[in-house]
Every structure is written in structure tokens, then in C-alpha cells.
Amino acid sequence: MTEDFDVDELGFNPAISATGADPQEAPQRDRASSSLGVRRRPRRAVWRRRFASGVVLLIALIGMGGAYALFASSSGANTATSTAADVAAGQQLYETSCITCHGNNLQGVNQRGPSLIGVGGAAVYFQVSTGRMPAPGQGAEMTRKEAKFTDEQISQLEAFVQAHGGGPETPTGNLRDTTLSLGQGGDLFRLNCASCHGFSGAGAPLSAGKLAPTLKHASDTQLFTAMLTGPENMPVFNDNQLTPNEKRAIIDYIQTLKESNDPGGSGIGRIGPVSEGLVIWVAGIGAIVLIIMWIGAKS
């Protein structure tokens, strides 16, 4: 039983023909019809259909994107004011995800998790938005993973923890806006941060399996809250020691560095002489030794 089935509507060649016959075997047919009963549309009509569907798709995408941008609540920027509803929602989240290690009163559980009393919303923001918390298990180091909570949930957790003991709060606004120059920010970065995180923010190991992570995934807020709260083994740089202005200068420097282009070609990791040594041996000497083997070959 044959049907008037337009193969071109599929937009691709089926491996198995709609009628069950092998399309590879199909001999060249004239335009009007084929012995398999598959009708082929004339060329121009095919392209018009394809163009039209493309336009529809594009409109749909733009429409969805635009609608989302217009109507979805803005993510990330945490308002300073949180409502009691946030606190309650945060408590819900806490009790499902955090209570086992941090205790029902945030007092911490021996051998499992430290007390959260007084750590503040900033610490919560950092740990949860970088996916370090909830931690899957104990270990020398909690490494960055994909965040398990949405931005809204994170703010709720923040509100909850903040309400139970206070502490530093997550900053708002433009965290790269500073009165200091990029040069001054860089100087502060090299004095306070580079010894663990490296001059280009590539990170480095600490003793016995611990790690000062790379900064390449960190957002402005994550950088700020990390400095403010000193997660894990990172020292605490409170706002008296490194003023918010200075912190923003450091953030501006780090993010500018990440965005900036290398003037000398490929940065090969921006980690210094080790990668350069690898390149000279593998690429430099390697290429030249192959070439001298060719030159020395009898011709």
C-alpha cells in the first residue's frame, strides 16, 4: 500500500523508507513520481517550505527568550531585605539538605560539620552557589561542583542562616566598581591572594591534599563572599582589614585578567615555566628531531 508521503517534509533522508523499501536502492526517478509511490515535490517549493519553517523557529526562539528575559525574576542579586517567608522556606531547605551535618540548631555536629551560627548569609551564598555544599561526603577538600539549588533557594537559605546568628551578608550592586585603579587592585591581589591562588588565578595545592582552587569559574559575588568569609582553609579578610573598596578592586583585577587577551599568542595555561618547558621539549625539540631525521634520510 503506497501513500502520498512527502519525504522532503522530513528534512532528512530516512534510513528506512516510509514504505519499507530501501532508499539506497531507489534508482534515479523523474520529478513527478516514483515507482515506490513517494511523491517528490518540485525543488523551489521545498526550499520555500524550509525557509518558512526556519523563520517560524527563529520567531519562537526569540519570543521565548524575550519573554523569559522580561518576565523571569532577576537572578543573583540578593536584596538586602528578606521576608519571613524566605526564612521559613530556607528552614525547609535546611532541614532537608543540611541538618544531618550542621545540626538542628545550626550548632554543628561533631566530626561532620561546623557550626553555622554567625557565619552569615555570605558564607551560605559562597558555599551553596559554588556547589560545595551540600557536601557529598567528608574529605580533605570540598571542590567546586554544579550548584544544587537555584538562586532563589540560595537566598532563602541565606535568610535562614542570617536570621539564626547573624554574620556578614552577601553584597549587592556592582562589585567591580572601585575607586582604586586596576594596578592597585593587582597589587593587593598579589600581596594577599597570589600566594595561594597563583598570579593568574590558576590555583595551587595546599598541604596534604587540600587545594586553593582556580578562580576561573568564580563570579564577582563568589569572589567577594569568599574573601569575606574565609571558606575552609582560606583566611578571613573582613571589611576592616580589606575594605569593600579594596575587595572590589581585587575583584575588578581578577575578572579583568580573566577576560583579557594574551598579547603573545596562546597563553598555554598561564602557569609559567612548567608548561613552557613541556612545549619546548614536545613541540620544539620534537618537531626539529623529526625534521633532522628527514634531512638525514637518503634520497
Binding site: D187, L191, N192, S195, C196, A204, L206, S207, K210, A212, G230, E232, N233, M234, P235, V236, F237, N238, N240, Q241, T256, E259, S260, N261, D262, P263, G264, G265, I295, S299
Partner: protein
Amino acid sequence: MTHSTANVPGPDELREMSPEEAMLVGAESGGVHVVHRRERYPIPGTKAEKRAERGVSFMFGLAALAGVAFIVVFVAWPYVYHLPGEGSQRFRFYTPLLGGLLGLMLLGLGFGAVLWAKWLMPEEEAVEERDDEPSPDEEKLMTAATLSVGFEDTGLQRRRMLVGSLALAGGALATVPLVALVGALIKKPGNQLAHTLWGQPPEKYPNGVPVIYSDGRRVSPNDIQAGGLATVFPGVPGGITSANTPTLLIRLRPNQSVKSRKGQADFGWGDFVAFSKICTHAGCPASLYEQQTTRLLCPCHQSQFEVLQDAKPVFGPATRPLPKLPLGIEVVDGTQYFVGRHDFVEPIGPAYWERP
């Protein structure tokens, strides 16, 4: 170098030969035998030969083009650095283009020359005699005689006074230029290595040397939170730039206490303790502070110092604890500020032979 000189033909014979024969004869006369020589394209004008010539010429042509392109890029391409968003980012291609075009030109020249030899020049294999036999005995005897008679002429063998005075003069010649040229470089270390700018005369700083940040602000205990650390310097001229003065000011948690070394129990203040930042192994700043394990890690050779044991080295090649700075407090306008009461009681940084 004289081989088969007997067989060298005279100039008339050489002029009768073809240049190639003359070349071969010339090589023979120098001990070089060309054992195999063959034109790669004995039949001139074949397609293969033209192809080979084209190949080599292509390389050279490519080199020329790359050279021209290099000059154009060098002059015309934008090279000024801009931060993203503040100007053209095309500078990031300037160096790669220059290097790539220069490389192409040079590689074209290089491969062209090598292919020229491999594809177009005649195939040749030559053997050269090493001329490795020792000098004939007569040469050695004559030279030996020359040396020994010359030495006898100097009379040094029997003129003892001459030899003695010459030796003394020679000794002077060996040492005086050294002294004259290198002597000014020598400086007496004295005991400079044992002191830092933290040690100031008490008349000048009766309350102690002010402790400051790198930007000059004085350090107050409220600045630093438990688990924090700061790099601090003495507030004296040259204090920030000196290589011996950087100090780590650490605030411990209330439940942490430092097991002090003898006589240094009162060097801390409250929860605060201050150590020299300069690693006692090789002098790098040992500033990777792990605030939960209270370890200071030096990034250069991975020495680790345990802060709660007075910065004693617990891993790695360091052998001596970081010197501790004695902290004090000065109250100015109602605010507490840190001071250094006196210098470290031992030399900071790497050790040396006469270290006290």
C-alpha cells in the same frame, strides 16, 4: 694534508681536463675520494626535473611572499594593548602573525635549501682520509729539541734566584688583578643579617615600632577576624620595601593556643601572633595560610610550619621555626594599634655559616 702529491697532474694537464675531472683530482690531492657521484637528472629537461625545480622554487617564492607579508603586518597591523571593551582586540594577533610569517619565511628558505640539495644537486658520497697517523719521528724530535733548547736558553733550570723571584712575581700577577677588579665588590656582612628594621632604638620609638599595612595604615586588633591574616610591616622609613621585614599577623580562634618556645611566651597579644614571613629555608614568603589546620605553607619548596607550635617546621626541607615578632599595643586617640616591641630575637630567613 699532503696526500698523493706524487699524482697531482701539472697545470697543462688540468686545463685539458673537464672541470669535473679537475675537481675530482683536486679532491684526491687532499685525501678526499668521491666514490659515488651521479646527477639526479642526467637527461636535462625532463618533467621530473622541472617538477623538482618548481618545488624548490615554490619554497623560495613562499618565503619571499611571507617576507613581504611580514613587513606589511609589521607596519600596518594594530599592536596597542587594550582591555576588552576599551579598544580593538586585534593586537592579540600581532605577535602571532609576525612570528608565523617570519617562521614561514625562514622555513621556506630552510626547506628550500634542503630540498635543493636533496632533489636537484648531484648525489654524492665521498670518503676522506683521516690523516690520523702520529707526526713522523723527525718532526717530534725537532720539536722536542726546539722546546728543550729554548728552555735551556732561559736558564731557569740553573738560575735558582731567578726562578724564585719569578715565582713570587707570578704569584703577585695572579692575585693583584683579582684584588683590584674584584676587591671593591667585597663588603663585610657584619651582623646585618641578624637584624631587621623592626629593631629600632627605643629613644626613637618609645612605645614600640608601629605595625602598618602595605598602604601605610596602622593595624588595629579589630581589623582582623579570627582565622584571618595580614601581611604587615614596620612603620619606619624603608620598612615596606625591605626584604627582611614582611611579617604575618595571624588571629587565631579563641580556643586555639600557641605552644611557645622558651622565652617567647609573651610575644603574642590576645589571640594574635606574628611571625616573620620570610621562610627559614630559602627566603620565599611563606604565606599560604591554611586557617583551619593552622599551617603555613611555603610555595617554593613546600615547607610547612605549624602555627600552634610557634611556627615549627613540620614538613619539607625547612629546619628552623619562623622567628616570632613580639607584639604590643599602643593606644592612640582611644584606638588600640599594634606595635612591635623589639626586633626578632634571632636572624630571619635562610641560615648562614656564622648564624648566631
